[in-house]
């Protein structure tokens, strides 16, 4: 990409069903893949991956201090990395500073408080619990 020629920068785009919520250049991007975190910098080999619930960390955004971190919570989705560009495709992306920690905590308590029976219900509950926990973690970790 022509714009990514700046030394060491990669392009990071976050797309939700409603809009492209972020399109920026940064030094590196941390992605919450389904099985753990993965950092992507310039020159990373192309891959398509599934995301879990967690935070996307955008480090050293262009126009800001080199060690500034912008954090967003994403709830599942996919990521495509190719040609020094990271495209996160997710159903929900919320900037970390906009998450209400107390309501996230209340949600988590509500989910842990419900009973689930049957394999599918238990799986759904665990998934919801993971998401709620990741949301709370993103909210409470701080800048």
């Amino acid at each position: 990409m022509a714009e990514t020629k700046q030394t060491g920068a990669i392009r990071c785009v976050i797309v939700t069903p409603e809009q492209t919520s972020l399109d920026t250049h940064a030094r590196s991007v941390g992605l919450p893949l389904f099985d753990g975190l993965r950092g992507v910098g310039r020159g990373h080999s192309p891959f398509i991956g599934r995301l879990g619930a967690g935070e996307v960390r955008i480090v050293g955004e262009q126009g800001g201090p080199a060690d500034a971190v912008r954090r967003l919570f994403v709830e599942g989705g996919f990521v495509e990395v190719a040609h020094d560009s990271v495209t996160v495709i997710t159903q929900r992306a919320v900037p970390a500073e906009k998450i209400d920690a107390s309501s996230a905590r209340a949600d988590l308590e509500k989910i842990t408080g419900t009973r689930a029976s049957g394999d599918e219900a238990i799986e759904a509950k665990l998934r919801a619990e993971d998401t709620a926990r990741a949301l709370l973690r993103t909210a409470t970790r701080g800048g």
Binding site: V15, E18, R50, G76, G77, I89
Partner: protein
């Protein structure tokens, strides 16, 4: 004097109506622009999903998935997207006509259908025709939100995978351009299978570069529901945009018609007034003539 006064009164009321229709036209124009922007902004998501799907299809991954399988239709679901308000020309009636035809077809094939309707207009029109409505939504206006559409889509996905429904048709107005919108029936479930990129070798090479985490088929499993939800969301967005366009056009026509009506009423009024004046002059002249004698 009575006739001229009545005409004047009518002209005044038509003028008031014209003011209202012009305002509605302006409001619809503003809403249309906003809805259109949202619709354009939402295209990126579908585009990126389609790109990943193409990549998966072109590496020759096993694209068998329950959502892609076409089963014999024993139970069907129909989702009808109409507006909450009228005064938008044939927008709602076109949809209702299409929906009734579709439901009639399923009925003649003895397939029970689960009917969900969004929009007050569609709800009342279909209820009037004696259709049993399983679900009613009235919360979608000109700005449908993904967070509101997703639960509906997820319920359909669950019903489809558990075998409660074998097919989902959405009746809505597709937006082609500002000059063309048409009421159509689109089959969203089973999903159309992803097509491998048609760019030939070049694209194939590009897709060979990708690694898949965890695997192409696992990503496919996750991406198909997402793709379905985004298509359903697009239906809602298209319906919202089309409704505003329809209202804009209808109100523009109403405003123009009111203008024409005012012109012809003015003409009639002037004529009536003139003939009244002439009559009065004739009376005075007659009186003068009578006095002279």
């Amino acid at each position: 004097m009575a006739k001229a006064r009545a005409l004047d009164r009518r002209r005044k009321s038509v003028r008031n109506i014209r003011k209202i229709t012009r305002t509605m036209e302006l409001i619809a124009t503003a809403r249309f622009k906003k809805a259109m922007d949202r619709s354009v902004a939402a295209r990126d998501y579908t585009k990126h999903l389609a790109k990943i799907l193409e990549n998966i299809a072109s590496v020759g991954a096993d694209v068998a998935h329950p959502l892609l399988e076409s089963r014999p239709t024993k139970r069907t679901a129909v989702l009808v997207l109409t507006g909450n308000r009228g005064l938008c020309g044939g927008y709602n009636s076109n949809i209702v006509r299409q929906a009734v035809a579709l439901l009639g077809q399923w009925k003649s094939e003895h397939v029970p259908s689960h009917v969900a309707v969004s929009g007050k207009r569609g709800i009342s029109a279909l209820r009037f025709r004696g259709v049993d409505l399983a679900e009613r939504y009235t919360s979608f206006e000109d700005k449908p939100e993904f967070a509101a559409v997703a639960p509906i889509g997820k319920a359909y996905l669950e019903a489809y995978s558990s075998g409660m429904i074998d097919r989902l048709d959405v009746v809505y107005t597709r937006f082609h351009s500002i000059a063309k919108q048409e009421a159509i029936t689109e089959t969203l479930l089973p999903l159309a299978p992803p097509q491998a990129a048609t760019g030939g070798r070049q694209v194939k090479l590009a897709s060979d570069e990708y690694q898949f985490h965890p695997s192409a088929s696992s990503i496919l499993e996750e991406i198909l529901p997402a793709s379905f939800l985004s298509r359903l969301f697009k239906c809602f967005l298209d319906a919202a945009v089309s409704e505003q366009v329809a209202r804009m056009v209808a109100m523009k026509a109403a405003t123009e018609n009111a203008g024409g009506l005012i012109k012809s009423l003015s003409r009639q009024y002037n004529r009536a007034r003139q003939s009244q004046i002439t009559g009065e002059i004739m009376e005075i002249l007659g009186g003068v003539e009578a006095l002279k004698k």
